[in-house]
C-alpha cells in the first residue's frame, strides 16, 4: 500500500492530497467544534498527519503538519480567527502539537528508510546467494569433465610406455565422454544465454514435425541405447511453420531428460498430434514419475531433482521451455497412471496442407 501510493503519486500531487485532507478534516471538525471541543480537534489532526506520514514522502507531510498546526491555532484555539493565544495552557498545547507533529513525521520517515535499507540488503544477499549457487553448479559441471580430460592426458603422457593397450583405450574413452559432456554444457549455456539476452530470433520455416522428431531420436540413439524410444510418425499432419532447429532441440532436451531420470530399459513414448491450430508433442515414460511436490520447480533454471545423476546442468528443461515460449507455446509436466512422467509441448502454429500439390 505504502509503496504503491509512493510510486503512483508524484511529490506535488502528494502535497496537494495532504493539504486537501488536512483542510477537509479541519473543516469537518470546525462544523462540530461546539460538540467535541478544540483539544480533541488537535488529536484528530495529529492522527491525520500521522496517517499521511505513513503513506507519503517527508516534505509534503512536513508542510501538511505545519499547515495543520496553523489551522488549529487560527480556527480552533480561542480566540478564534487569530494566531493569538490567550492562556499559557493553550500555548503549551500548541507548542506540543507542533513538536509531536514534526517528530512524528521525521520518525516515521526514518523507520521507513531503515525498512527499505533492510529490504535492499536482503534482496542483494539473495541475489548473491543465487549467483553463488549458479556459479558453483556451473563450475562443478565444467570442472568435472575438464579434470577427467586433464588427468587422462597427464596419465597418457607420463606413462607412455607402461600403460596397457586396454588402459590407454579406456582413458581415451573417458576423455571422449568428458569432452562430449563439456560440449553439451557449453551448448546449453549458450542457448540459455541467447534466451536470457532476448537475442533469440526465430527462423520459422515449413517443417515436417515427424522428421524433426526422428532427427532428435537419431541424435539421442547415438549416445544412448539402454532405453527404448518409441515413435510412430503421424502421417496425417500438415506442415507446421516453426523454427525447426529450436523445436528439435526442445524435443531432444525433453527426451534426454526422460532418459536421465528413468532406469535403464525403460520405454519412452513420443506422440505428435494437431489440434485447433496447435502442434502437440508428448513425451511419456514408464519410470518413477516426478515427485509431486517438485513438479512446479522442474522448469526452473539450474533446478535439479534431489539425488540426480551427475552430468546434468539443470538447464535442459528450462531451455526447452524457453524455446517453446519463444513460439508462444507451453510445456506442461504431469505424472501418469499407473506410473511414469509425461511432458506435453503445445505450440500454436500456421499450417500448410499441400498434399494435393501437383506431382507429375
Amino acid at each position: 500500500m505504502e509503496l504503491h501510493l509512493k510510486r503512483t503519486y508524484s511529490k506535488p500531487i502528494q502535497l496537494m492530497i495532504s493539504l486537501a485532507l488536512v483542510l477537509i478534516i479541519s473543516g469537518g471538525c470546525f462544523l462540530f467544534s461546539e460538540v467535541i471541543g478544540y483539544k480533541v480537534v488537535a488529536l484528530i489532526l495529529l492522527v491525520t498527519v500521522s496517517l499521511l506520514a505513513m503513506l507519503f514522502d517527508i516534505l509534503p507531510v512536513l508542510i501538511a503538519s505545519i499547515l495543520s498546526a496553523l489551522v488549529w491555532n487560527f480556527f480552533f484555539i480561542p480566540p478564534i480567527y487569530t494566531f493569538h493565544i490567550d492562556n499559557a495552557e493553550d500555548l503549551l498545547l500548541f507548542l506540543m502539537y507542533f513538536l509531536i507533529a514534526l517528530v512524528n513525521t521525521v520518525l516515521t520517515n526514518k523507520i521507513r528508510e531503515a525498512e527499505n535499507k533492510a529490504r535492499d540488503k536482503e534482496e542483494k544477499e539473495n541475489t548473491i546467494k543465487l549467483y553463488d549457487t549458479l556459479l558453483n553448479s556451473f563450475s562443478h559441471e565444467v570442472r568435472t569433465p575438464l579434470s577427467t580430460i586433464i588427468g587422462a592426458i597427464d596419465t597418457l603422457k607420463e606413462n607412455r610406455s607402461n600403460l596397457s593397450v586396454e588402459n590407454k583405450g579406456e582413458l581415451l574413452n573417458e576423455m571422449e565422454i568428458a569432452s562430449n559432456r563439456l560440449n553439451r554444457q557449453v551448448e546449453n549455456l549458450l542457448n540459455m544465454n541467447r534466451l536470457e539476452a532476448g537475442m533469440l530470433k526465430l527462423k520459422k520455416d515449413w517443417c515436417d514435425i515427424n522428421e524433426l522428431i526422428f532427427s532428435a531420436i537419431q541424435k539421442l540413439e547415438s549416445i544412448e541405447n539402454d532405453h527404448k524410444i518409441n515413435f510412430m510418425p503421424n502421417e496425417n499432419l500438415p506442415l507446421f511453420k516453426l523454427d525447426g532447429g529450436l523445436i528439435e532441440q526442445a524435443i531432444y532436451n525433453l527426451v534426454h531428460n526422460a532418459i536421465q531420470y528413468t532406469p535403464p530399459h525403460s520405454t519412452i513414448q513420443i506422440d505428435v498430434s494437431y489440434h485447433l491450430d496447435n502442434c502437440i508433442i508428448t513425451i511419456s515414460d514408464n519410470g518413477m514419475g516426478f515427485p509431486e511436490s517438485e513438479i512446479k520447480f522442474l522448469f526452473d533454471k539450474f533446478y535439479r531433482l534431489p539425488n540426480s545423476k551427475p552430468g546434468g546442468t539443470g538447464l535442459g528443461l528450462s531451455i526447452a521451455k524457453g524455446f517453446a515460449e519463444a513460439h508462444h507455446g507451453t510445456i506442461m509436466a504431469e505424472n501418469i497412471i499407473p506410473r511414469g512422467a509425461k511432458l506435453t509441448i503445445t505450440i500454436p502454429t500456421e499450417t500448410s496442407f499441400i498434399n494435393n500439390l501437383k506431382n507429375e
Binding site: N183, D205, D208, N359
Partner: protein, 225 residues
C-alpha cells in the same frame, strides 16, 4: 600418384596442428596459412587440391576470402564454422563453398568430407550411369533402379533426384534447390520442397524416417549420399 595437397586457412594454431597431424597421417600434404591474405597468396602461387577455410578469421572475414578465392579457384573449399551459425553456412554455400563442418567436429567426419570433396574435383562428368549402393541412376535413359527394380518417379521427383545425386556429398541449400527445380520466384516455397523430399524418400529410402540417401542438414538444406 602424388599426395593431394590441402591448404588450411585458420588463425588458431591448435586447430591447424590438429588438422595437420590428422591429414598427414592420412597421406595428404598440408600447407598452412594463419590469415586470409597469406592464404590467398599461397593458393594463387600453388593451387591446392582442397582448401579448409575458417569462416571467422581476424583480418578479413572468411566470407570475403571465399568470394575472392572463387573468382579463379575452382576446386573444393570446405568451410569451418562454429555451431548455431546456419546463416553463415548458407551464405558460404551460396558463395560457392563446397561443404562445411561445424567446430567441434569429429575427425572421421572431416576425413569423409575431404575424400568426398576431392573425389568430386576429379569427377568423370561423362558417366551416365551412377550407382549409389542400392540405387542405380541412368541419366541418359532417365531411369532409377532400386535393388534392381525400376522405380516409378514423377518428373518433379526425378528432377529433384537428378539435382541431388549430381551433387553427391554436397549440401544444397533450400533456396538453391527451389530455384533449380521450380524456377525463380519459388525460392521461399519451402513447403513444396518438404513435400517432394518426403515423397521421394518414400520411394528411394529403405526407411524414409531414417534416410540414408537424402540427409537433412538442419536449417541449411539437403545432402545426397
Amino acid at each position: 600418384m602424388s599426395k593431394a595437397e590441402i591448404l588450411i586457412i585458420d588463425d588458431e594454431p591448435q586447430i591447424r596442428k590438429l588438422l595437420q597431424i590428422n591429414l598427414e597421417s592420412n597421406d595428404y600434404k598440408v600447407l598452412q596459412a594463419d590469415n586470409g591474405k597469406t592464404g590467398i597468396i599461397m593458393a594463387a602461387n600453388h593451387p591446392p587440391e582442397l582448401i579448409l577455410l575458417d569462416i571467422g578469421l581476424p583480418d578479413k572475414s572468411g566470407h570475403e576470402i571465399l568470394k575472392e578465392l572463387r573468382t579463379w579457384y575452382t576446386k573444393a573449399i570446405i568451410i569451418l564454422s562454429v555451431q548455431n551459425s546456419e546463416h553463415d553456412i548458407i551464405t558460404a554455400l551460396d558463395n560457392g563453398a563446397t561443404d562445411y563442418l561445424t567446430k567441434p567436429f569429429r575427425t572421421g567426419e572431416l576425413l569423409a568430407r575431404i575424400r568426398s570433396a576431392i573425389r568430386r574435383n576429379n569427377k568423370d562428368e561423362s558417366k551416365t550411369i551412377i550407382e549409389f549402393t542400392d540405387l542405380v541412376i541412368d541419366y541418359a535413359a532417365r531411369t532409377v533402379l532400386k535393388n534392381g527394380s525400376l522405380l516409378k518417379l514423377t518428373s518433379t521427383e526425378y528432377n529433384l533426384l537428378l539435382l541431388l545425386s549430381k551433387n553427391e556429398g554436397r549440401v544444397l541449400t533450400h533456396q538453391y534447390i527451389l530455384k533449380e527445380i521450380w524456377g525463380l520466384g519459388f525460392q521461399t516455397e519451402t513447403q513444396y520442397l518438404r513435400v517432394f523430399i518426403g515423397t521421394l524418400r518414400k520411394k528411394i529410402e529403405d526407411n524414409p524416417n531414417q534416410p540414408t540417401h537424402i540427409v537433412t542438414e538442419s536449417g541449411v538444406g539437403y545432402r545426397f549420399t
